[in-house]
Symmetry: C3
Subunit: 251 residues, 3 copies
């Protein structure tokens, strides 16, 4: 299969990859020459090298998709790539915990097992992962009160349990865990929403992401990363919402 | 990791769990202290102990999510928990068959294999599972005729095959199988719809669920259970539909 | 379990299956008599024998669902069935590459591994699979320019990267690969969209499919196949869109 690879392009890829300390290639090439070719050249050799979003952010987007869609067979490769791109082990642990809430508990427990294996292979000391109950980040009480009031008015009688846990477990606990910056939590959340086709929740979380420091360029380029990892249809369904959010924030 | 667990809280959990005959804890703790902490205290120790929905119903909701989302790695734990919570082996078998139709055939075949392993471990005699063709429950011919007429008028020319199987395989066969009560089939169906973000189908099936005996309080509390197992975004997309159904039924 | 199978019906199935060279039965029967019964009689013995859609097309629809939903445990059985129904190994390879773009990269890498194992068992020479960069099919430059212009106007500023790859990687590359006919690529795409509940993208791709030669009867019968493999709710959400597309094309 290698004989089909454009040697020059591969050489360039190797140089780029080495310069970034990124893994050089997938351990196991695909059976299909076309899939192998696109993976090497279009994804690893082109998409991942684009400006507008750092390799670290691309790793966060990609891991979020894999966890949110329970695609665990690709986690070892992209977990290592994330570590090599500057995502810290503790940030990976927090990404997984975050997606327990934002994509369903069982996705997180599967990803946890995959991360455990990679961390062990890399001799990362899991005892140094973020503790269960760290000192929380400061909370914007006014903004949180407004959010909680809106949800209470809307759904307080429909599902009081959901409303209660949304406040206590999410916005007064999970989002305040210091092991992953709020901007990164937002990038994780938005990536998972796009990956699972949950466009109805994108408006709130994309605005929150941009309030937390994600730039429009980064959000735009995250869509490009998501096209390949979450699939084109999910991105085409999300683009109108991104367009609308971008426009409204400029008004 | 255990050293990080609040000893008092764990003690309380052990007492609650023992009182219910529920499994005490996950066999394998998570690598991540936070995920482990939330699983023990927020989910098993708090969510599962809430009133408003029995542990048996919570097991039905949770199994439905795991099967409908093909999250088989958590099935062994939650299948055992379901058995310990009073879900009968035959009801589990029917839940799986039901979700073959309502979430895609391959989800059911995977769950079937997981259940076989658990039943074998528990020495449950699979020869006593519900037969392929049991004597059916009585059918409300008038209501079924009205349903069939509506679907025929709407889609009879678009997809006659779908319309035919909807009548013959679903409403005159699957739903009449006596091994799982219609109310429980509805709880399975609604849980799967929420878990897969299929809000367009929730109105019909939530109404059917409530016609079949699911109370508003149980439906509301099912959303709370679903928040953790299907993920927050799916529940936030479903809540407006639940709200609307609850309101319209009171008019 | 076999003792519960209606002997006469099984006999008929065996004759039908043998006549088509199709695999006679699932290697491993389900634990659940009902699931086993429905699989043998309702699916393999009835659905797959319906006119309106060839066994080859049914295999394409079914494989598309399994890949797009990452249900790899059923791939060995249905890959063999596809080969036995006349889907060529190179077409299967192209289906997998196509769904890398249309359902997310990791679904394709998992399916690639499953196909490799089946091809090896069947002694299929993977060196004869379609090359990475074949001579492309001819392009309708005018239609493609119109498509590109529409997408550029709509999303060129929102996500220039997505717009660029949509043109370069999808419509000027992937869709022109000769190893899978455009009509079959469309059937793969539409099946994946329905399987993942992405109804917002169905209008464009169903029209494209019918422009590429898929008949209304085939599209309708594909919905019937999808009901069982993608689950009823996805098909009920897609039927209004199919109905609308069918109607508009007759105006």
């Amino acid at each position: 299969m290698n004989s089909m690879v454009n040697k020059l392009a591969l050489g360039t890829l190797l140089v780029c990859a080495a310069a970034q300390g990124a893994p050089l290639k997938k351990e196991k090439p695909s059976m299909t020459p076309a899939l192998d070719h696109y993976t090497r050249h279009l994804l690893l050799g082109d998409l991942w090298q684009r400006p507008g979003l750092s390799p670290r952010d691309r790793s966060i987007v990609t891991l979020s998709v894999l966890v949110a869609k329970n695609q665990n067979h690709e986690l070892p490769f992209y977990l290592k790539r994330a570590l090599d791109s500057g995502v810290k082990p503790g940030e990976i642990a927090e990404l997984i915990v975050h997606l327990a809430f934002y994509s369903g508990w069982a996705n997180a427990t599967a990803a946890d097992a995959a991360a455990r294996a990679v961390f062990s292979e890399r001799k990362i000391d899991v005892a140094r992962l973020p503790p269960a109950r760290p000192a929380p980040l400061p909370l914007d009480e006014k903004a949180e009160a407004a959010r909680a009031r809106g949800v209470e008015e809307n759904f307080g009688k429909v599902a009081p349990g959901v409303v209660q846990y949304t406040t206590e477990a999410l916005f007064r606990d999970l989002w305040l865990r210091p092991g992953l910056a709020p901007r990164d939590r937002s990038l994780v959340t938005v990536s998972a929403l796009v990956a699972n086709g949950q466009v109805a929740q994108v408006t709130y979380h994309l605005n929150r992401a941009m309030d937390n420091g994600l730039t429009e360029q980064q959000a735009s380029e995250a869509l490009t990363q998501l096209a390949f990892y979450a699939g084109w249809p999910n991105v085409f369904s999300a683009m109108p919402v991104f367009k609308d959010v971008f426009a409204k924030r400029k008004e």
